[in-house]
Amino acid sequence: MNAVVAQLTARSLLGRRRVLLLLLLPAVLLLLCGAVRLLAGQDTSVTVGLLGGFALATIVPLLGLIAGAGSIGPEIDDGAIVYLMSKPLSRHSIVRSKLVVAVAVVTLVAAVPTLIAGLLLSGTAEGLAVGYGIGAAVAGVAYCALFILLAILTRNAVVVGLIYVLIWESLVGNFVPGAQVLSIQQWALAITEKVIGSSAPTLGVTSAVSLGAGIVLLTVLVVGCTWFAGSRLRRLRLTGSE
């Protein structure tokens, strides 16, 4: 981890209009949950629907994509990354620094708002807020690691990331149960399920994978993607404008 790389990444990620983009989705989530609580009162099934179906399934992966791919993709595209690459720095440490910043951003704009949304909807009832908050935080780390790697592998990271989130996790995952086994959302949900405890199945919080499998898969994904991203960054071609 290199503090200067992290600082430059944070300045780019939060600079200009991108910060507005990052704040838009959590604002929508919080407004929606506030309105639902006011209009419909406290209802755990609504809370599960909103936190599971909207926060964990949509807000977290989208913000993971914006923060993860956004922490390195634009600099690769415009060539500014050359100022990091022309330094005697380990490429793995560049990736780790960017991951730390992206995870911090996603925690702040996705996991914390998920926790607050849960508290707004159901208070501390059934541990839903904390359960989904932790699930969102864990999922955020995994999405960031995956999308940083994707941004190094392809210039079309955002499109590929959207396809993964919207087509694979949401669409295919809904119709093909087997696909859920390869879904960050489901792995994180296994942790949420554990935090909520024995009442989780009756509340409809069930993951397609066991807790053990979820933790192992998440760990392998984060470690594997981060390592692979560093080694691909070492071989990144910077070809200039010619």
Binding site: Y83, G240, S241
Partner: protein, 320 residues
């Protein structure tokens, strides 16, 4: 020693060969990498900077490979051609960040010195996004100088600089070269290279066309045959008059039947007939032409150089 060596280096991108079997050695002093746009200069610089693996051959710096060797950046400074930087920070913050990334013992002092060298101390507290092209160029140079490198690679460094900044940078490169550092800069402008580089390497269409002292290469360039397009009221008679003179080696009568290609001085396609002349002795030819025309009562409509583009000058060097 600080010598960068390209040994039989080729680089291709898919089916496109950007650099073709180039062998060159760049040692201490200022070396200009000259060539038209698209000649492969940036590809060569990117390979020297370790940002691109050669498809064949080897790029080494003092015997060490540069590809996938992060440690060489302690000794190499790079000024990229592309303008993008982390422009949400100020000039000072950016140069300081570069000094810190090099893990220098006193990054603030190094950043201050680099900014003084490029005369950017007055504007250093403004955001990079608000800088002019020339100012950005100077900040880029400051980031490359901040760790006092032995080798400086600059890709088209004079782009966007005003004349005063150019002279200042030329002086700086001169000084650094005289100090025994290895400076390589690319340019497509002959005059820029002529003014500061003792040695030049010429690239054309991915190939290493010439290398050596600038004066020798300049002589090769000016001694080449010059070609002209000429239009007159009697091309045929003028053709025979020119070929009768000793100053031209070839005259072609290009008709307007679609087989030839005449071009006007503006470069637009000219459907009328014209003469294409290859002059071997340029100074004699330009004096003789009006006299020949007057003697034969021929009216000249247009005389324009056919090959004054840099590309044609370079192509001549390649085909020699």
């Amino acid at each position: 020693m600080t010598t960068m060596i390209l040994d039989k280096v080729s680089r291709w991108f898919g089916n496109v060969v950007a650099v073709n079997d180039v062998t060159m050695s760049v040692g201490p002093g200022v070396t200009g990498l000259l060539g038209p746009n698209g000649a492969g200069k940036s590809t060569v610089i990117n390979m020297m900077a370790g940002f691109l693996a050669p498809s064949a051959g080897a790029v080494t710096f003092d015997g060490e490979p540069v590809w996938r060797n992060e440690e060489i950046y302690r000794r190499i400074g790079l000024v990229p051609e592309r303008e993008a930087m982390y422009d949400t920070v100020t000039g000072w913050q950016f140069v300081l960040a570069n000094a810190k990334l090099h893990r220098l013992s006193d990054p603030a002092a190094a950043a201050r010195k680099a900014l003084e060298t490029v005369e950017m101390t007055e504007s250093q507290d403004r955001d990079i996004a608000d800088f002019s092209k020339g100012m950005k160029q100077r900040i880029k140079i400051a980031t490359a100088l901040v760790h006092d490198p032995q080798v400086l690679l600059l890709d088209e460094p004079f782009n966007g600089m005003d004349p005063r900044q150019r002279i200042q940078l030329m002086g700086l490169l001169h000084t650094m070269g005289d100090e025994g550092r290895t400076i390589l800069f690319s340019s497509h402008i002959l005059e820029e290279v002529e003014q500061i580089a003792g040695n030049i390497q010429v690239m054309v269409a991915g190939r290493h066309a010439a290398s050596g002292d600038f004066r020798d290469i300049r002589r090769l360039m000016t001694e080449r045959p010059h070609q002209y397009w000429i239009r007159s009221d009697n091309d045929r008679a003028l053709a025979s008059a020119i070929i009768g003179d000793q100053s031209a080696s070839a005259v072609e009568l290009v008709m307007d039947n679609g087989t030839g290609s005449g071009y006007s001085a503006t470069g637009a396609r000219d459907t009328r007939a014209a003469l294409h002349v290859e002059a071997t002795d340029v100074s004699r030819f330009v004096r003789a032409l009006p006299q020949l025309a007057a003697r034969h009562g021929i009216r000249l409509y247009e005389v324009s150089p056919a090959d004054e583009s840099l590309e044609s000058v370079f192509s001549y060097l390649v085909t020699r």
